[in-house]
């Protein structure tokens, strides 16, 4: 589904990703772990198409199509979703209206009519239930005054609504208490199918107890320095990142 080859990218003259190779197939869950500043969030932003990052070499290919020239909205229409570490507050635009806009813009891009209001409401209700979201919450302004947990739950609600092929969860576990973590992970697991894929970016192993990865990759200084299965995550939790850093230095 997603094939990243020899990806070099950065901001201005500062190269952050220094040759990433990663292949994610449909039905798989990949975890990307690594110390602070290793380039995890940059990788997420580059896949989602943030314009301030420049790709200097290599490619990001989704279902055979090079994404280099695709805008963030085009990538979204092709099925990429990024759950943000810091979701943005949009005063005056309710969660419901925001989702209506996002869904109908996606449909417009595919040449479809707006989703009928009735179907939209039904879908919103179902997906809200999945994330244990109160109906009152849906009429609040997007992310405005939301707690950390509410923001993250709202991100996964949006993912549920948009039904992406590839979801990237950027530090979705940060700032979550154990109950919120369970709800969020449960939501992701229910959305998981053989036709879609998930990349979980996290600092800690904790989330991976709930969203179990097929593969774990360790990112360090802009490169994937180690890949393995979920046992690698446990090892990292036990030993920290220092041994990886040392191993790489050697």
């Amino acid at each position: 589904m997603l094939k990243i080859s020899n990806l070099h990218a950065g901001i201005e003259d500062n190269e952050i990703l220094k040759g990433i190779d990663l292949e994610v197939k449909a039905g798989e869950v990949h975890a990307i772990m690594g110390p602070n500043g290793s380039g995890k969030s940059t990788l997420a932003s580059v896949i989602a198409g943030k314009e301030e990052y420049e790709i200097t070499a290599g490619s990001v290919v989704l279902e055979g199509e090079d994404l280099e020239d695709a805008s963030p909205e085009e990538r979204a229409h092709k099925g990429i979703f990024l759950s943000f570490q810091y979701p943005v507050e949009i005063p005056g635009v309710s969660v419901t209206n925001f989702m209506k806009t996002a869904i109908n813009e996606g449909r417009k891009a595919k040449g479809l009519e707006d989703m009928p209001a009735k179907d939209m409401l039904k879908m919103i209700r179902e997906k809200a239930e999945l994330l244990e979201i109160d109906r009152k919450f849906l009429s609040r302004s997007l992310n405005e005054g939301f707690s950390g947990g509410e923001k993250k739950r709202n991100e996964i609600f949006q993912m549920a609504m948009l039904e992406p092929k590839l979801a990237i969860l950027d530090e979705t576990d940060s700032g979550l208490d154990i109950d919120a973590l369970r709800i969020v992970a449960n939501g992701v697991n229910k959305l998981k199918s053989k036709d879609n894929a998930v990349i979980v970016i996290t600092h800690y192993q904790r989330l991976l107890d709930y969203i179990v990865p097929d593969f774990v990759h360790v990112l360090h200084q802009g490169k994937i320095v180690k890949s393995g299965t979920k046992e690698l995550a446990h090892e990292l939790e036990e030993k920290g990142y220092d041994w990886i850093k040392q191993e790489t230095a050697v």
């Binding site: 932003s45 989602a48 198409g49 943030k50 314009e51 301030e52 805008s71 963030p72 909205e73 990538r75 979204a76 229409h77 990429i80 979703f81 990024l82 943000f84 810091y86 979701p87 943005v88 949009i90 005063p91 005056g92 635009v93 209206n97 925001f98 209506k100 806009t101 996002a102 869904i103 109908n104 813009e105 996606g106 891009a109 707006d114 302004s141 949006q158 948009l162």
Partner: protein
Amino acid sequence: MDLKDKLISSFMAFENKVDVEHPVHDIRSEAFKNFEEKGFPTKKEEAWKYTSLKNLQKIDFSIFPKEVDALENKQVKKYFLQEIDTYKIVFVDGIYSSFLSETTHDGVDICLMSAALTKPMYKPIIEVYFNKVASKDESLTSLNTAFSREGAFIYIPKNKMPKKPVEIVHFSTGNEASLMLQPRNLIVAEENAELQVIERHQSLTSNEVLTNVVTEIFAAENAIIDYYKIQNDLKTASMIDNTYINQKSNSVVKVHTFSFGGKLTRNNLNFYQNGEHIDSTMKGVTILGDKQHVDHHTLVHHIEPNCESHQDYKGIYGENSTGVFNGKIIVDKIAQKTNAFQQNNNILISDKATINTKPQLEIFADDVKCSHGCTIGQLDEDALFYLQSRGIPKKEARALLMYAFANNVLESVRISELKTSINRLIAEKLGVRLGFDL
């Protein structure tokens, strides 16, 4: 002949049309002298540093409009609130249109200035209120006073509230190649009265129009007035709005100004707090493009203790547009425990757009809370990316962010149908269809 000379020579003709024996005419004559002496303000004056009236004065405006055939309702329907019923005071090229209006004398007076200035029954009201809060010094206000004859007159007696909001609408039809209008409004809410007013000026063709309007508003003890100004006129229409508000104890007056259109718009909004526990609010959303220019000059004069004022102006400037915000707050020495807040935030969405923003605080009391803040920025790139990553195209995403930026000004609009119609204007102005009513 320049505009000043033309106006001066027109005054004699004007005197033939009005009752010069009426006491109001002494007020007019005084005001005329002041204008004759001072003329139009120039950029040399600090208050007019960023707004030039020079080009407007070169236009050969007609001073006395000809009466035109009645406008048909369907031609102008869209300029009124659709979903709710309102009282309407409507003028076409400065002349009252009884056909489009809906006035009342049922417990409250919602009618015409010309009636108030001529009918004996209104004489006591005119004596107490006419030209009592408007400046006698400012030359354009004097110009309006000199030619004052027609406009809206609203008088709400003690404990009364009209059944519905009042719309004051001025249409210009392009009957003249270029037309100058000088409406004069007087609005009085007596003790405990309540009132909602929406004012709009709209030209129907692209002939030049210059409106120099003066509105005097009096809010007695405990009165509540909401006043909304919709400035969405064509790009050949210019306006100088002079609004003067006198508030007594415990009154609450809110003025919202939505500036989306016009060529040149100058808003002089002046609040005088003559009492205690007064609340004065002025809010504005300005969205400009092209070569449009809007200048907001606000003044709040805190004259007595324990009062509040709140100012919140948001501006979005695109293309070659220019904006000015000058917010003056005066706190007199005895006006202790004053709370005065002022906020002006601006987004420049083009490299060629300009905003000049200046707070002006003159505080003579020592136990007060006054704050002011102004920002000039661009749209937040991270927020833009967030919206785009959800599949919302850049143009729509930008519009959504601009809407969000202006939103807290809209929140205090208390007529929901008006809010909807302003949202529509904003969406139109930003050139987007967002798939829902904002």
